[in-house]
């Protein structure tokens, strides 16, 4: 649709913000801040989808942007905050296998790795100008999310790492549009269910079994009916 180079610049600025949020997720320890940063990241990715919609005109992207905001910027943090509030111990401190400095170094190494391996194959794949930076940043975001899963001990942070991975994959998929909307919708629904399940399970690790089974019943049956 609109084809200004301004849109490309805006996309690049949004990429910068994505990278910033990724770096913060890797290093920050307080759980509530992590959730907020994740919300911001989802907003930014929805903004990227919107800008791409302005550029391409494909309605799927617009719907995807709205869906991302609804599910990832509101629903998921809402669910997670509720679960987190009902956990008896209010936890702010984090335990980790890798220090924050190490995590940042590994994160930068990952970005370079993705850049190097993708630069050999990918530029041929699409005519979209922002495809290559988008692909690199999307996949590196996914890899950094995976790093969060494996190097942190807290379950909520692991779930957040998984959510970040999802965001990275979503960012990557935005540039190869035209995956039919039904598929995208189902994928997002799937992932939301997964998150809720994981959160409920995480809740179950800390509390007594009885409360957990109560919660499990009410949550999952609410979904199935």
């Amino acid at each position: 649709m609109i084809n200004l180079p301004v849109l490309d610049d805006i996309t690049k600025i949004l990429f910068v913000l994505v990278l910033a949020t990724a770096a913060l997720i890797i290093t920050i320890r307080t759980l509530t801040s992590l959730l907020n940063i994740y919300s911001i990241q989802s907003w930014v990715i929805a903004a990227v989808a919107f800008v791409l919609y302005l550029k391409n005109g494909s309605i799927v992207l617009l719907l995807l942007a709205i869906l991302t905001i609804a599910s990832k910027a509101f629903l998921v943090p809402f669910v997670m905050r509720r679960i987190q509030k009902s956990m008896h111990i209010k936890r702010d401190l984090e335990f980790r296998y890798l220090t924050p400095i190490g995590s940042i170094l590994v994160g930068t190494a990952m970005i370079f790795l993705v850049y190097w391996s993708f630069s050999q194959f990918l530029p041929e794949l699409s005519s979209e100008t922002m495809f290559f930076p988008g692909a690199v940043i999307g996949v590196s975001l996914a890899l950094m999310g995976m790093m969060v899963i494996f190097t942190r001990k807290q379950m909520i942070t692991k779930i957040l790492g998984y959510l970040t991975m999802e965001n990275g994959v979503l960012l990557f998929s935005l540039f190869v549009a035209e995956l039919s909307f039904i598929i995208e919708l189902l994928i997002i629904l799937d992932l939301v269910m997964l998150i809720v399940l994981a959160t409920v399970l995480a809740f179950g690790i800390d509390t007594s079994i009885d409360e957990f089974h109560d919660k499990l019943n009410s949550f999952t049956l609410w979904f199935k009916e």
């Binding site: 301004v6 610049d9 690049k12 990278l19 910033a20 770096a23 924050p100 930068t108």
Partner: protein
């Protein structure tokens, strides 16, 4: 000749507005804490008051203590010549080089650390050692950040950097945004703001910068405070003139210079408010957690380099 005019103008301007920014940050912090805070001109009053008071030296101090305030203020003012605030002058040999800029600041910091040790009190020694620890970790990061900046703007001369960003396309360059995140972190560190160091505390556990100037009094203290304020202003100027250079001019005449001065004051005030808010959001970090913050700056500069490659 034109350089002398530039030098006088720049230095006078910087010295005049630095205390304003300091009080503005204090005021913002006070508002966020729910109190009124000191009036905006308070720092001016403080400096004037200190200039009139006598200096007292401890018996155990040496020459270092007496010359450090002068070295400090001179180094910082010369460094301020490297950072055009009102207008960008024509090139003059050597000035504007980023290496010169950084090393002048480090030179001043070094003497300040020495002076902290000089009085032989535990506070001073502790402050100096902490300052040197933080410095040892942040200096490589600063070098990388400025290297990324140099790669981005294709020059290591601050005058040329400002000219390039002034002449570049109207919209914010995304790599500049990324590097300005790093520059912001460096601003926080070098001017000893929360979360690195609390500039308003006098508690032994939390002092870094304050500990080193604890022994000073009278006009010495005025000079140290002034040099701190000027250092803050020129670092803010680097940040502002790279990110949002509009208003700055390289063609000096009365109109453009005054526009540039006014816009700089406005931009500086906005940045000071931002710094104030940033300070209010955090608590002072423990010393060994500081490298995490620096790593963020490192990460952003690395990403800038990557972004440049990705283009």
């Amino acid at each position: 000749m034109s350089f002398i005019i530039y030098a006088l103008l720049n230095t006078a301007f910087v010295m005049l507005i630095s205390p304003l920014f300091v009080s503005l940050i204090k005021k913002v912090k006070a508002y966020t804490q729910g109190r009124q805070g000191p009036p905006l001109l308070q720092t001016y009053y403080m400096l004037l008051k200190l200039l009139k008071k006598e200096r007292v030296y401890s018996d155990n101090t040496s020459l270092i203590m007496r010359i450090t305030p002068y070295i400090n203020i001179v180094c910082v003012l010369v460094a301020s010549l490297c950072v055009p605030v009102v207008y960008i002058p024509a090139q003059i040999a050597g000035f504007g080089s980023i290496i010169l800029f950084l090393y002048l600041l480090v030179f001043a910091k070094f003497f300040m650390a020495l002076a902290g040790l000089d009085a032989g009190s535990t506070f001073g020694g502790m402050g100096s050692s902490r300052e040197m620890t933080v410095s040892a970790v942040i200096e490589p990061v600063i070098i990388i950040v400025f290297a990324a900046l140099g790669l981005l703007l294709k020059t290591t001369n601050l005058y040329d950097m400002f000219t390039t960003s002034l002449n570049s396309s109207l919209f914010i360059n995304p790599s500049t945004l990324l590097i300005s995140l790093s520059l912001f972190i460096i601003l926080i560190v070098e001017t000893a703001r929360i979360p690195v160091d609390n500039p308003e505390t006098h508690l032994e556990l939390t002092m870094i910068h304050e500990a080193m100037i604890l022994e000073y009094s009278g006009s010495d203290l005025a000079m140290m405070e002034m040099s701190h304020a000027v250092k803050q202003t020129i670092l803010m100027a680097v940040f502002i003139n790279i990110l949002i250079p509009w208003g700055l001019t390289s063609a000096p005449n009365a109109l453009t210079v005054s526009i540039s001065a006014v816009t700089f004051i406005i931009k500086g005030m906005v940045l000071a408010v931002a710094v104030g808010f940033f300070e209010s959001m955090f608590a002072k970090s423990r010393l060994f957690r500081l490298p995490n913050l620096f790593m963020l700056a490192f990460f952003f500069s690395f990403s800038t380099i990557l972004f440049e490659l990705l283009k």
